[in-house]
């Protein structure tokens, strides 16, 4: 199982310039994956989630083609090799 988090351009400077981050371990949910990312890249984590652990209002988190708010939110389960894609929403800015 490989879980990769794909970052938008604006967040890459917070991840040593990397466009994506491959996560160690086998996170079971999107929340677990982002928590795994937090240790190495706390600024990336805080740019995606608020202090209360909610996805920021104008950030979309996709698992495949599905935005997780249309699935089970941060509790959405991960199975097999997956990409979690972080994208700014059209509603911001």
């Amino acid at each position: 199982m490989t879980v990769t988090v794909v970052l938008p351009g604006a967040l890459r400077e917070l991840a040593d310039g990397r466009p994506s981050l491959a996560l160690d371990g086998a996170p079971a949910t999107v929340a677990d994956a982002l928590e795994a990312l937090r240790a190495g890249y706390p600024a990336v984590y805080r740019s995606i989630l608020t202090e209360t652990g909610d996805v920021r209002p104008h950030i979309n988190v996709f698992l495949g083609d599905t935005e997780i708010r249309r699935a089970d939110g941060l509790r959405t389960a991960l199975e097999g090799d997956v990409e979690i894609v972080i994208l700014p929403a059209v509603s911001g800015g």
Binding site: A10, P42, A43, R46, E51, T52, I59, G93
Partner: protein
């Protein structure tokens, strides 16, 4: 993207105008004559900047800014080189404790602490709370007595959000601080932030069934002068007030203004009796009365007010000046400055007697802070 700002090397005697907009910050600099301004920016392009400050204590020339990225959140940033470079996003992190159930939406005010305590600063944020640092901004913590205030559940957001936008400190007693929140009203601590009492007696709340509640008023701005710090002036969501006792009792001073609705309020730097406001027509039509852009000035602590419109548009001026978009510098004669939601910045080098357009075509202006570089 715009060109990278180059920053200004700040020199003693310069007047610095820090302008925050919904799409970045601009720094304008003039010499003491204030006849010609150089502009630099946008800093933080695309990000709203509601709070800016220049901290000149202990020989510093530290710029502070609070850019809010619409996607990735609000950060607090510092520059020691006039804006040529800013610290990283994580260096001065302001955040609510995870168990508070709150998350930072916006920083509304950055206030350097007393001169005798140069590593202390305060910031006011949305949702309404006060944060403090004792190490020059490296680490921040919420003021617990305010974070856990029993009234918190009753505070509600105004149109701008539920914000703590005003921080006033007693220059003689560091444990006395006055803050104002919208909505919620004025609160004062006498014990360094452990406890806070609502101080709104006499201030109307037109939008509530009870027009004079203990708290819940929509206070837009409060100012005071360090030479007479106990006397506070307040621009309310309907109402102009003065208190002579740190907010214990407020009296109406809307004497001769076209409207007592407005947002911005600024203290004269050298005269404790002189205050500036920019009235708006009403809560239903938040533009200049009669479409005339006029600042109003009192020179007698609110007994009377005079319009100041020379050099400002006097017809078709459907302008709005927000709560932190009016300020004065410490020159003699004092400079007075304001910015509009239509992106214009006006200034007066004559204490408001006459005005010039300093800059136009900016994004909506939400913050104007002026300082003379020491």
């Amino acid at each position: 993207m715009p060109d990278t700002p180059i920053g200004h090397a700040l020199e003693a005697g310069d007047v610095l105008l820090m302008v925050g907009t919904t799409k970045g910050a601009f720094l304008l600099r003039a010499d003491g004559s204030r006849a010609r301004w150089e502009i630099d920016g946008p800093h933080f392009p695309g990000e709203e900047v509601y709070a800016l400050a220049l901290d000149q204590r202990a020989g510093r020339r530290t710029l502070w800014a609070a850019p809010g990225n619409p996607f990735f959140g609000t950060t607090l940033r510092k520059s020691e080189d006039g804006g040529a470079s800013w610290t990283d996003k994580e260096e001065h992190r302001v955040a609510f404790p995870e168990d508070s159930g709150l998350s930072l939406k916006r920083i509304w005010q950055i206030r350097p602490g007393p001169d005798g305590d140069p590593n202390r600063l305060l910031v006011g944020v949305e949702p309404s709370c006060l944060f403090e640092t004792e190490d020059g901004g490296d680490t921040w913590r919420p003021v617990r007595g305010f974070l856990e205030h029993e009234h918190r559940e009753s505070w509600t957001p105004g149109a701008g959000g539920m914000c703590l936008h005003t921080i006033l400190q007693d220059p003689e007693r560091t444990d006395r601080v006055v803050v104002a929140i919208s909505t919620g009203g004025v609160y004062r601590t006498e014990d360094g932030g452990r406890t806070w009492r609502a101080r709104n007696e006499g201030v109307r709340a037109e939008f509530l069934p009870d027009k004079h509640p203990e708290f819940g008023q929509c206070v837009h701005k409060v100012v005071h002068h360090p030479d007479r710090p106990e006397r506070l002036f307040l621009q309310n969501h309907w109402g102009l007030y003065r208190s002579d006792d740190w907010g214990d009792v407020w009296v109406d001073i809307a004497n001769g203004v076209p409207s007592d609705f407005g947002f911005g309020m600024a203290m004269h730097p050298n005269d404790p009796d002189t205050v500036y406001i920019v009235p708006m027509e009403s809560d239903q039509f938040r533009c200049c009365p009669e479409a005339k852009l006029r600042v109003y000035r009192t020179r007698d602590a609110g007994e009377s007010w005079e319009p100041l419109g020379r050099g400002l548009p006097q017809e078709g001026a459907y302008e709005t000046v927000l709560r932190d978009a009016l300020d004065t510098d410490a020159s003699d004669p004092a400079g007075v400055y304001f910015g509009t939601r239509s992106g214009s910045v006006y200034g007066s080098a004559s204490e408001g007697d006459s005005w010039t357009l300093i800059e136009g075509g900016l994004p909506p202006v939400v913050c104007v802070k002026a300082a003379v570089v020491a």
